[in-house]
Amino acid sequence: MLCQNCNERAASIHITKIMSGEKREIHLCDQCSALHEMFNSSFNFQGFIANLLDLEENTHAVDYSHSMEYHCPQCGMDYDTFKKHGKFGCEKCYETFSLLINPMIQRMHGKEQHIGKIVKYGGENIRLKRELTSLHGNLSLAIEKEEYEKAALLRDQIKILKEQIKDNIKS
């Protein structure tokens, strides 16, 4: 069966929806189902997250059999409660359930690494690490173009930056 939204990929998620007393079946592919909630305000978001998680549990290598044992040490949230409500209890939940939710978040956003604004306080090392990544990029480029003087310079900069990051972690 083809996905009802894109008519391109095979439908892998089948959602039953009650609309004004009428039962309706919706068939979507992975990608489109991830886009579906925000697409339609009357869509049930909690059900949507549960569907995504079901999908991960069935298709991924992550072992969900011990998921019941996970409890957030800060707010007490367990995996089943999160799955039911689709919302976390605190910031620590992201860490607690990371193994179980990372694939779901990636499916939802199509990306897995934040590249936007960084907090002003406490974000210093993240800023430096981003700089480091871009320096590494420039270094590969310089080597590729055989600009060895430039590469040497970049290596020095990278070394300084790495020291700085280490110092920040210590203090």
Binding site: C6, L35, F88, G89, K117, V119, K120, Y121
Partner: protein, 343 residues
């Protein structure tokens, strides 16, 4: 340059009603609002109040409204004005700070601890982001946000993680709606990570042919790119809508005029009218105004579309006994007064 930009954005006012940017933020080391103790919830309201009322910040004054202090109808009114959400009204410890001009609101203890929102007339997403971002920076002077290197700003719902940002524009698309092109458009946009949905309505049936276009994803994309994506998609839709308007005007003027003048006739004569019917007819009058078939003020019509919503309409009448009011009759009177020119 900056001046040119705002002039260009202003030019789209025939189709773009408003631009909105919302940032979701949470405070480090505190559970999200659903698990929050009432003392901590009150502390958050206080710290936000302190940040924005600081004498040194030169901000336009904000008014504080607490959920526990307002009537059910006023909650409804705030939602209709897009200043709060239905969810906000369900949390007893929630509060909102609303800038005096009602362009900026800061919801506290909704789904997330803090939601900063700026809503401006016309096509001004960049400016709306600048304002929201400035308040974000200001709050950070007093608050430490929950933030993660990988996932960015941590939010109660994983669908907001990363930038925590939702940017949207509200468009008036009567011609695309009349020609049944909206469903197609919705499906195309979903593939680009952009959502389009009807305003004030359930599902795909948009009231008053108003639609909101917004970003679906918030992680792995820069704030500026979210804005420019919405910008370019909106521009494309605006062009299609405008082309279609003139196509109908050139090929089928009598048909269009008839629809528009009948709508005006009903609105200026009705003695009782529902929201649904008014929105449908006002949409046609707005189209007629833009095409200069009728002489009305577009800004006034935009306001009318908002003011006739039940919560806002009732809030204009100062009475304790709202039960005895016939809302549909009030609405018909209000619309007649707005559209019929005195003298």
């Amino acid at each position: 340059m900056g001046c040119n930009m705002s002039k260009n954005e202003y030019k789209e006012k025939d189709i773009v009603i408003s631009s909105r940017v919302r940032l979701a933020r949470n405070i480090r080391n505190l559970p999200f609002p659903i698990y929050l103790q009432s003392d901590s919830a009150k502390d958050i309201v206080e710290v936000v109040e302190k940040s924005i009322n600081d004498k040194n910040n030169n901000l336009t004054p904000f008014n504080k409204i607490k959920v526990e202090d307002i009537t059910a109808n006023n909650k409804k009114m705030l939602v209709e004005k897009h200043l709060t959400s239905p969810e906000w009204g369900r949390n007893d410890h929630a509060a909102v700070f609303i800038r005096e001009d009602e362009r900026v609101s800061i919801m506290v203890n909704e789904e997330d601890h803090i939601r900063i929102q700026c809503i401006l007339d016309g096509f001004q997403l960049n400016y709306a982001y600048d304002i929201a971002n400035e308040i974000d920076d200001l709050l950070e002077e007093e608050i430490r946000y929950a933030f993660d290197e990988k996932y960015g700003y941590l939010t109660a719902c994983p669908s907001n993680v990363g930038t925590g940002m939702r940017a949207s524009v509200m468009l008036h698309l009567p011609s695309l709606t009349l020609s049944n092109q909206m469903n197609n458009l919705m499906q195309t946009l979903a593939r680009f990570g952009i959502t389009i949905r009807g305003i004030y309505g359930e599902g795909t049936q948009a009231m008053g042919d108003l639609y909101q276009i917004s970003n679906q994803t918030t992680l792995g994309i820069k704030e500026q790119d979210i804005i420019s994506n919405i910008h370019s998609v909106a521009k494309e839709i605006i062009k299609r809508e405008r082309d279609l308007r003139y196509e109908v005007l050139n090929n089928n003027k009598t048909y269009l005029e008839d629809k528009i003048f009948r709508a005006l006739g009903t609105l200026t004569n009705a003695r009782t009218i529902s929201v649904e019917e008014s929105m449908k007819l006002i949409s046609l009058v707005r189209l007629g105004t833009d095409l200069e078939l009728i002489d009305q003020d577009i800004k006034k019509i935009n306001d009318l579309m908002i003011t006739i919503q039940p919560g806002i309409l009732l809030s204009l009448y100062d009475t304790a006994d709202l039960q005895s009011f016939d809302v549909d009759k009030l609405r018909a009177n209000f619309i007649r007064k707005s559209l019929i020119k005195n003298t």
